[in-house]
Amino acid sequence: MIRLSGMRLRGLIRKEFLQILRDPSSIAISFVLPVVLLLLFGYGVSLDARHVPIALVVDQPDAGTASFTGSFRHLLYFDPVMMSDMHAAEQAMREGSVDAIVHLRADFGRKLYRAEGTPVQVIVNGVNANTARIIIGYGSGVWANWLTQYARANGLALAAPVQVEQRVWFNSELRSRDYLVPGLIAIIMTLIGALLTALVVSREWERGTMESLMSTPVHIAEILLGKVIPYFVLGTGGMLLSVAMAVWLFAVPLRGSFLLLFLVASLFLLVALGMGLLISTVARNQFVASQIALIVTFLPAFLLSGFIFEISSMPKVVQVITHIIPARYFVSLLHTLFMAGDIRSVIWPNTLALAVMALLFFGLVRRISRKRLD
């Protein structure tokens, strides 16, 4: 068993803190970037389409078309613009000034009273498939409403419809902020834990100060602890800041217990620090370490963790890959703890997975570092 010296460890930690304090870029990453990210996500980023510009083209205006186009106005979803002909509307769509065209042909009014009915042409810009689908959804809703009103006004007997009654649990207003902000905490902690640590250790290697450190009586475990503890403190600070902003500034409900949140966040921070240490020990060069850290920590945490893209919709192979991304477990824990509460069946497996990963990374770092000392 190694005997750790409290004095040596304190010295190393003090050195690391001084280095952090004197280099404004690490402070910027751990405090400024979280605040910027949270503000952007909290206020700026939204996936819900509102006020979509659409073109209404009516070949032959009459009472029937007026009632139909009227139903597109006074809605939060659409900002309709009347256009004289299809040519102008298609040009507007190519230029990107409208996202959809609703076209009522010349025979709209005539065919309205015939048995076969009249077609209404709807063209959407499909480039952003997600927005396009939302527009089609809104459009069908408008059409269904118009249909019911029209039938009532004209005394038509339509078959009774099935009505959708929606209940959204845990986030009844479907505020995307409540879902994005907790997920963001995982990204922020990945940044602080893995990115910063990856850089600082590889810098010691690159500058040759690691060699000098190793020639002192300091044990390798003390060097590692001396790196982990300061960044753990920094990461905890970033985490508390993010949680405080989420709860007080953005009014995201915290339905689970804070203690549990704190514990799983600390565990995730250990995993991230372990990853950072591992990367820097393998890379030993700041350029390579920064590239690897970006590729294996930040981008996967952003794209493969379920933070924005749904994991169950990914191909099976990619779903398997997501299991080695620590952020996946943490994002799931964060969403549940913030919005749903302490649900054991979600918390236990995810926490266990994080614990296994923490042990794995630190075990690997310990092994590799010892070899290099020989």
Binding site: S25, V127, S140, V164, I295, L303, I343, S345
Partner: protein, 372 residues
């Protein structure tokens, strides 16, 4: 003039050697971008497939069975459970086993026969609000189709008007077509920015920057010698990624390559400008890297890559105007999916050129005024 080019060329050769001499750096420039494009290309989708759902049908009549069958027949949903008691709903949703529960009440069939509107309850897990929204949208469209067919079968004069929906540029509404050109832009940005942001900082950190300053090279020659390798690497990287996007992911490339590469060149110009600015401010590589990161993360988020700019509040939309990625996203998607002609993309080209020139001018100024 020829002398000048010779010196710039010599510096470029040195830069390439510094970047490529190391086996790990070499690998980092080629391997990960391709792996990323492929993995993220498959991962990044807003289309839902096999969303786990459960059915609670208390009615059991023909109409309700027909409606349930439509959910079963949809590729978007995958049934994981059939519920027999109301108490079973909560654990299924809470444990994330099912994202959606379709609940049909006992009076469903009777209401429909009596001509009363019959409710179907959709219970959704709102933890991922975007998925919840899409799930509700999919489910609502299934119910709408069900209604439309009932209307037609009822034969009472049919429906007076029906929607004929067509999607331009992306007829099957695959969100991959939208996202993969975007990912190509992101990866090009990341690689170029990092290569550039670290070059000067590395020299400063290793003390070779002073040596560079006492050579006959002028400031603009040093800048060009540092910028051109980034430009070459960025162009090659982007070409590789475009090839993968077109031949591996079958993303249609409708527009002209000339338009695409004009956009790419201007985009690289702006990325290099930002990179050199960071590079000339940073004293250590860590600062260079973190500076690049501080710029990149908000720039990616505000670029309209995953979340449309039109949905942002006006203040944030104004901020996106200085984000080079924003313009490149429009160019990429325009050229790939819409085949947008050169002339229509000029409103995207000039801001990129402007951002690039301003940043390069600032970088030159910073270079001259910061010589430690």
């Amino acid at each position: 003039m020829r002398e000048s080019w010779r010196r710039i060329f010599a510096l470029m050769v040195k830069e390439f050697l510094a970047l490529l001499k190391d086996k790990k750096s070499r690998f980092v420039l080629i391997g990960p971008p391709i792996i990323q494009l492929i993995v993220f290309g498959y991962a990044a989708t807003f289309d839902l497939h096999h969303v786990p759902y459960a059915v609670y049908n208390e009615d059991g009549g023909a109409a309700s069975r027909d409606l349930v069958a439509r959910f079963a027949g949809s590729d978007a949903f995958e049934r994981v459970a059939v519920i027999h008691h109301a108490e079973q709903i909560r654990p299924l949703i809470s444990d994330q086993q099912a994202r959606l529960v379709v609940h049909i009440g006992p009076a469903f069939g009777r209401d429909l026969v009596l001509g009363k509107p019959a409710p179907v309850q959709l219970i959704v897990d709102g933890r991922n609000s975007n998925t919840a929204l899409i799930v509700l949208n999919y489910a609502a469209s299934i119910v709408q189709h069900f209604n439309a067919e009932r209307l037609q079968q009822a034969g009472l004069g049919g429906v007076p008007a029906r929607l004929e929906v067509r999607a331009w540029f992306n007829p099957n509404l695959k969100s991959r077509w939208f996202l993969i050109p975007g990912i190509a832009g992101l990866i090009t940005m990341i690689v170029t920015l990092l290569v550039i942001a670290l070059t000067v900082a590395r020299e400063r950190e290793q003390g070779t920057f002073d040596q560079l300053l006492v050579t006959p090279l002028r400031t603009y020659e040093i800048l060009l010698g540092k910028a051109l390798p980034g430009f070459v690497i960025g162009t090659l990287e982007a070409t590789l990624i475009i090839v993968v996007a077109v031949f591996w992911f079958d993303i249609p490339l409708l527009g002209s390559l000339l338009t695409l590469y004009t956009g790419l060149a201007l985009f690289l110009l702006s990325a290099i400008g930002v990179g050199l600015m960071i590079s000339s401010l940073a004293v250590t590589q860590q600062q260079g890297f973190l500076g690049a990161f501080l710029f990149m993360v908000p720039a990616v988020l505000l670029s309209g890559f995953a979340t449309p700019i039109e949905n942002m509040p006006p203040v944030v939309q104004a901020i996106t105007l200085v984000d080079p990625i924003r313009y490149f996203m429009v160019i990429l998607r325009g050229v790939f999916l819409e085949g947008t002609p050169f002339a229509l993309l000029i409103p995207q080209f000039w801001p990129l050129a402007l951002i690039g020139s301003v940043c390069l001018a600032l970088a030159t100024w910073l270079f001259r005024h910061r010589m430690y």
